[in-house]
């Protein structure tokens, strides 16, 4: 009686969770396997599994200029954006934590870019960095004749223009996450530090910052996932140009499965994009495993 009832209940639970099961298995096992498999074929417009191409697509990938530029860009962009967002986010969070007046107003202004589409972000900054009518021209009209602020116009500096837009859009989130973390830090620590005469900035850097490990990791992972996916911002702000100066892996893949009609080369790129994520997941597992092992050893 009980066992049959339980089985019936479980069946309902499986039905309820069927969307999750379908997506998990269909997309994240079968889909990923399908993409990786395609990277070893000669598919152009449609998937074709009749000929095995070996590593030919990967060899081609790593000799395709736009892919090489993409990989270089994603590292440069990722390090700069994540670094700046973390630093700026932490600074803003600590300053906001100093019991400022109008905290809600500051937070609203700092975080609103995150509510908008990356297309909007890209278009606004494209306009502000316009070499003819943007900020540069305004500065020159004000009398700063030598003013230069049109990074998007030159292949050498375009990526830094994209970085500015990325920091503008993303540093508010880091601030919000770290501020929430700071609010969770025990009040007594501030009192203790004050009693001991430790300067406030040292308390933040040497006491609060290490206690924010969890919040920092969260902010980092969120940023990293966003960087690997970056597509919309590039489309809006430069379209990958000038030339191929701001190409990104995500755009490379989409271009190759749509307009460039070379699915297998695109899938080789997609497979490469999966690797950093797999490394992150593996590190996460390893840390968990070690923690569990340490806990077990502590017990006996």
């Amino acid at each position: 009686m009980t066992s049959s009832r339980k089985r019936f209940a479980n069946l309902n639970a499986v039905i309820g969770a069927s969307p999750m099961i379908a997506v998990a298995v269909g997309l994240y096992i079968f889909g990923i396997a399908y993409s990786i498999a395609l990277s070893f074929t000669n598919s152009r417009l449609l998937p074709k599994f009749d000929s095995f191409a070996g590593l030919a697509n990967y060899e081609r990938l790593w000799s395709t200029p736009s892919w090489l530029v993409s990989v270089h860009n994603i590292w440069l962009f990722g390090l700069l954006v994540i670094g700046l967002n973390m630093a700026l986010g932490f600074l803003m969070a600590t300053f906001m934590d100093r019991r400022v007046r109008q905290e809600d107003t500051f937070r609203t202004i700092i975080l609103y870019p995150y509510a908008m589409s990356l297309i909007v972000t890209g278009l606004v900054w494209q306009w502000m960095m316009d070499p003819g009518l943007g900020i540069q021209e305004s500065l020159r009209n004000w009398g700063f004749e030598g003013a230069a602020f049109a990074p998007l116009a030159s292949p050498d500096t375009a990526i830094f223009g994209v970085v500015i837009a990325g920091v503008w859009q993303g540093s508010g989130v880091t601030m919000a996450i770290l501020l929430a973390g700071l609010r969770g830090v025990d009040e007594d620590i501030w009192k203790a530090a004050r009693v001991d005469g430790i300067p406030i900035w040292r308390t933040y850097v040497f006491i609060a910052l290490p206690m924010l490990r969890g919040a920092l990791a969260t902010a980092f992972v969120l940023q990293a996932v966003g960087v690997v996916r970056i597509y919309d911002l590039i489309i809006a702000i430069t379209g990958g140009g000038p030339g191929i100066a701001t190409e990104m892996p995500a755009k490379f893949v989409i271009d190759h499965i749509t307009s460039r009609i070379n699915v297998s080369l695109g899938m080789a790129g997609a497979t490469m994009m999966l690797i950093p994520i797999l490394v992150l997941v593996a590190i996460n597992w390893y840390v968990d495993w070690r923690r569990k092992r340490a806990a077990l050893q502590a017990i006996g």
């Binding site: 999750m20 202004i109 870019p113 999966l274």
Partner: protein, 301 residues
């Protein structure tokens, strides 16, 4: 009590502190105000540019207030600006975005709430494996799974259709929303669930009559997350929606990047504000709820 009082006297005794503090206060506000200016500037530039006529835009004074504010660019952006082939402004894009966003938000939230409910109260064998896989999916770049999804949608005849794009949004919203609901449900008192079981209520009854009425706060967070996320989407819209259903972001990009004729920056900026209006309204109205959504979504399972 005495200990606290003693500490306070110690603090008050430490000489020149007040002046030091006030200098630091000025520094704090100076930094925050500078930061706020950096973040506010683009919105200001968008607004003033959108209210200028083209002759004034060509003066190259991007920060200047419009001398004769005009709503012409807004009207043009909304109803007559050209997106490559048609000249209907952003209106069709707005309507498409509504048609995509409303059903996507509802369906994705119901699916995720069911997942979270099954995961929290009705653990079945393998549940954690599927959940772990789903969370792994939250980190997978879209580009890795987008092509198999295109092929699947084409096979079932939903590629480039409205139902197709709704399913795609439901799929990609699932990892984060399921996590959100699972975490919320596991914090609910289990006695409540057990009491309903004792009263003879089954899986679906408990879900609809006990759990969902208690899930209003998390559902508000989920709605905020999904409305802004889906409205702002560009990639899925351009790949899966089909030419008839292109969302507002795609049409905005088409309007601005259309290179035929002169670039009307004032119309472009009006269009940009119009496309950002819905998520911005959600953001300003929801206030702290939006922040809660970020924090909830960011917490690792």
């Amino acid at each position: 009590m005495t200990a606290i009082a003693a500490h306070e006297t110690v603090l008050e005794a430490s000489g020149p502190r007040p002046r030091q503090v006030s200098a630091a206060r000025i520094g704090v506000y100076a930094f925050l105000i500078t930061a706020a200016l950096f973040f506010a500037l683009p919105l200001y530039v968008m607004l003033v540019t959108s209210l200028k006529g083209m002759p004034e835009v060509r003066l190259g004074q991007i920060f200047a207030f419009p001398s004769a504010p005009t709503f012409e660019p807004w009207i043009k952006a909304w109803s007559t600006a050209c997106t490559g082939r048609t000249c209907e402004g952003l209106t069709p894009g707005f309507l498409n975005s509504v048609k995509i966003t409303v059903p996507s938000v509802i369906i994705s939230i119901i699916a995720a709430a069911l997942n979270g409910y099954a995961l929290s109260f009705w653990k079945f064998r393998g549940a954690n494996f599927f959940f772990g896989l789903l969370i792994f999916g939250a980190f997978v770049p879209y580009q890795v799974v987008i092509f198999p999804l295109i092929i699947f949608m084409r096979e079932v005849g939903l590629f480039a259709t409205l139902p197709g794009i709704i399913i795609v949004h439901t799929i990609f919203g699932m990892p984060i929303l399921t996590l959100l609901y699972r975490n919320y449900f596991s914090a609910l008192p289990e006695e409540l669930f057990k009491a309903a079981r004792v009263d003879g209520a089954g899986f679906w009854r408990i879900f609809f009559y006990v759990i969902m009425p208690m899930s209003v706060p998390i559902t508000i967070v989920a709605i905020i997350l999904q409305v802004t996320g889906i409205w702002n989407d560009f990639l899925f819209g351009i790949v899966f929606a089909g030419r008839e259903n292109l969302p507002m972001t795609v049409q905005l990009n088409n309007i601005v990047q259309t290179t035929t004729g002169i670039r009307e920056h004032n119309v472009n900026m009006a269009a940009t504000i119009l496309a950002a209006a819905v998520p911005l309204a959600v953001y300003f109205i929801s206030g702290r709820w939006f922040v809660r959504g970020i924090a909830a979504g960011a917490v690792k399972g």
